[in-house]
């Protein structure tokens, strides 16, 4: 009797702590809005109290005007509009073209690198997974590679391949392929035996078994690593572009950093982050679409 009363009281009290919380888009939007408001307030306070305040933390208005319009000189005339027509610094057209042109270059490097890395990683991962000793041997190497500060190795690729797009693409492949390879071979190792045994009894063997059965079966498990590979690809291309390349969002970010022009850095960083987040979402959606047969 006494125990039952205690239990009822506990359950009543327990309502203050829910058993599960939920993440909502609204909370993300509100959180981002609060961060922007805090930025603006801090910028205004800093500008009012110090001489160089607006250079250290520019207001959002300054970011949207000076920051954006100051990017015009990064346009090199590659989009069919001549540099003279675009107008250079201070022109909204030139700034837009500069962002589009450089974002396009970076996007191309990420896209090519990511596709090659995923293709290479999956093919090698399947080959490696087929032979257990090879899988164990590769896992030893990848365990060491996982711990390397990969981004710090970006200068190596610039030295090997010059300050070219090739250096960026190869660096992206180097950074991402191992993640995909390891995830693929692990996913194959984790497959339940009946997934491959049942098709074998129906006569499905060899390459057909790997492409028609094993590959679709492991896709849900490698979804996370593929999305993570998207983030790593963007981080890698940024590191690569910051070392000597003369085009791309990484180059723009590094160049604005050299002169500590924060308002321009913010614009480039926002475009870069938006594209990186979009890639993550796209990769996730792509895998979801391919694996829509999942319950």
């Amino acid at each position: 009797m006494r125990g039952s009363r205690r239990a009822r009281a506990a359950v009543t009290r327990g309502r203050v702590l829910s058993l599960r919380t939920r993440g909502t888009v609204r909370s993300v939007l509100i959180g981002t809005a609060v961060a922007l408001v805090l930025w603006e307030v801090a910028a205004r306070i800093l500008a009012a109290t110090t001489a160089q305040g607006d250079r250290v933390l520019p207001s959002l208005t300054k970011v949207a005007t000076d920051g954006f319009l100051g990017l015009g000189h990064y346009y090199k005339g590659g989009l069919g509009v001549s540099v003279a027509t675009a107008g250079g610094d201070g022109s909204a057209l030139a700034s837009t073209l500069a962002l589009v042109e450089n974002a396009g270059v970076t996007l191309m490097r990420v896209g090519v690198g990511l596709v090659l890395a995923i293709a290479l990683g999956i093919v090698l991962g399947l080959l490696v997974a087929a032979v257990r000793p090879v899988r164990l041997s590769v896992s030893g190497v990848s365990e060491v590679l996982r711990m390397l500060p990969a981004l710090a190795m970006a200068p190596l690729f610039t030295i090997w391949f010059g300050a070219t797009s090739l250096a960026s693409v190869v660096f992206v492949v180097f950074s991402v392929a191992f993640i995909v390879l390891l995830a693929t071979s692990n996913a194959v190792a984790n497959l339940r035996p009946e997934v491959t045994e049942y098709p074998r009894t129906l006569g499905v063997r060899g390459v057909r078994l790997w492409t028609r059965v094993v590959l679709p079966a492991i896709l849900p498990e490698i979804r996370g690593p593929l999305v993570f590979g998207g983030i790593v690809a963007w981080a890698s291309v940024l590191a690569s572009e910051m070392y000597g390349l003369q085009e791309g969002l990484g180059y723009m970010l590094n160049d604005t950093l050299r002169f500590s022009i924060i308002e321009r850095m913010v614009v480039v960083a926002v475009v870069f982050s938006a594209l990186a987040l979009l890639t993550m979402k796209l990769l996730g959606a792509l895998v979801d679409a391919v694996t829509r047969w999942r319950p």
Binding site: S18, V34, P149, P155, W160, L238, S260, A269
Partner: protein
């Protein structure tokens, strides 16, 4: 590299299997094959270096090891370039020490906020933008801002590395708490445990193995982010030396320092895994 790193191998709690006698045994399955894999890579690298026959393009592992040993305690070249601590050892120690400090601060905060965010909606709403918007921004994008705002000293790196560790461990802790069976907490409630007691005595121990395993991801993240930030501007650290050597085109030093950081990270990871195994022995 972003901190929202997904590494299922590292998150899986490192719990060794039991032998028939009840004693725990270390997971040595395939250790020989793993070592063989590393040996094969080293031999292939040595052969490739012999074929290329140019230190400026591909130094051999032996040359890398020799150069690394030569500059380990002191290096006249680095001294000439104005490096105040011109040996690899003090700079590696600085990078690892700063990473460890930031990792400890960020991980503790991340574990607490991650667990609370899975049970208190207010914490979830506040942490959501931190985890999924700002935490998803690559460290190299935020690093230049921190460099301008906080200078090139220890503070900017400490804040940034701690933030990425916070996100990394926070996400793992939140997922672990969300996946924790509700029946355990419901049963505890019927036994008279209030919300606070359920959190402290049921949820925290119940999710501890996964959260501790999440610390391993954060450790690798901390060292990688710290080194990367040092590349952009620092007075000390292995990242600063890599940047200097890169400007000289010294491949051997870049490879040597990167491998040394990787080797230290692997050793610290093994140590952490052993500590975690001791803590969750009850599991």
């Amino acid at each position: 590299m972003s901190a929202t790193q997904l590494d299922t191998a590292a998150v899986s709690p490192a719990v060794p299997a039991r032998t028939a006698g009840g004693r725990r045994r270390l997971p040595r399955v395939g250790l020989g094959w793993r070592l063989l894999g590393i040996a094969v890579v080293l031999v292939a690298w040595q052969l490739a270096a012999l074929v290329v026959d140019s230190r400026g393009i591909l130094p051999s592992p032996i040359e890398v090891a020799r150069d690394f040993g030569f500059s380990f305690f002191d290096d006249a070249g680095l001294r000439y370039l104005g490096v105040k601590t011109p040996g690899y050892l003090p700079n590696l120690a600085y990078t690892i020490g700063a990473s460890a400090l930031a990792w400890a601060i960020g991980s503790v905060l991340g574990a607490v906020v991650g667990l609370l965010s899975a049970r208190i909606q207010l914490f979830r709403s506040v942490s959501e933008p931190l985890f999924f918007v700002f935490g998803a921004v690559p460290a190299l994008v935020l690093a230049p801002f921190f460099s301008v705002w906080f200078g090139q000293g220890l503070e900017n790196k400490l804040v940034l590395v701690a933030f990425y560790c916070f996100v990394s461990v926070g996400l793992v802790a939140q997922s672990a708490a969300q996946a924790f069976p509700p029946s355990s907490e419901e049963y505890a409630a019927t036994q008279g445990l209030d919300a606070r007691a359920r959190f402290l005595h049921v949820l925290v121990p119940g999710t501890l193995p996964v959260v501790l395993a999440g610390l391993r991801i954060a450790l690798a993240t901390a060292i990688a982010v710290q080194t990367t930030i040092e590349l952009l501007g620092s007075q000390f650290g292995a990242g600063r030396l890599i940047a200097l050597r890169a400007s000289q085109g010294d491949l051997s030093s870049i490879i040597g320092l990167s491998l040394a950081l990787g080797a230290i990270a692997v050793a610290l990871d093994a140590l952490l895994r052993a500590i975690i195994r001791g803590i969750v022995r009850w599991q």
